[in-house]
Amino acid sequence: MAYYGQSVNAFLYIGTSTATPLPAPAGDSFTVIPLLEILTPPGLETSIGTFSILNDANKRSVGGKSNDKVVEGTVVIDWTEATHVSMYADAALAGGQKRNWRIVYPDSNTRQLDFVAFVAKWTEESFDATGDAKEHVAAFTLAVDGAITVTP
């Protein structure tokens, strides 16, 4: 058995290059996003078309293209971390700043997802005097462009 926990040792990496076209992941350098609190890997979903025919009570369905893939998560903001500053700057760029991104799983094989994406959302939570001084957190969304390469 090689199942694993979901509360520690999962990592999100941001690629350095912003070149057009982007280099392959092997030719890029990656930096881990520190203080990552929640990370939701991209889900896979195929669009579905259904139709009925007159002489069959059962519905028929056909698969279409893969639906939009996004990576969602939260970080505890630290503005001395260059990666947090980069994510904010990327999110402010109209058209989206595409980069190579990588997710490394905490399993024994260190399963790895490589994909191209841009920061489509960066929303910081409110400053709030009504509660206790919890850490200031930003929610982000990465919009995946193209295919996801899984290793191993």
């Binding site: 040792n9 881990v32 990552l36 505890v76 001084a133």
Partner: protein
Amino acid sequence: MLDTDLILFLQQQGTGAGTRIHTGNAPQNSQFPVVIIRRTSGNTPRVLGGQALNSRAQFSMDVIGVDYATVLPVANQIRASLDGFTGYMGGSNIMSARCLAEPADFSEIEGDQVFRRVSQDFFFVYSEA
């Protein structure tokens, strides 16, 4: 450690309890009033990379004496000095300190002697980096 930093901090407030600020239990034959602090809960959340975020801790603080006239001023001084405190307390960096339960009065009867106890709860968010 926040527990020991709290004791030192309260001892420096010049309350009627002086240096009689203790964790858990008061020593036998202690003079009164005396302050007992107890950590009643706490946790330190972590991020996916394993780094610790700020710790959270709740403390109950009891001031014990023979009459309210000596106990209440000590309890009020503790409340005034801790509620809203931010900054360094010894090696602990306090992000937030809040009085969760305002001072409440209790009486303890032991034989033919009655003790007065004023209890209050505080919640701290802090780091010990």
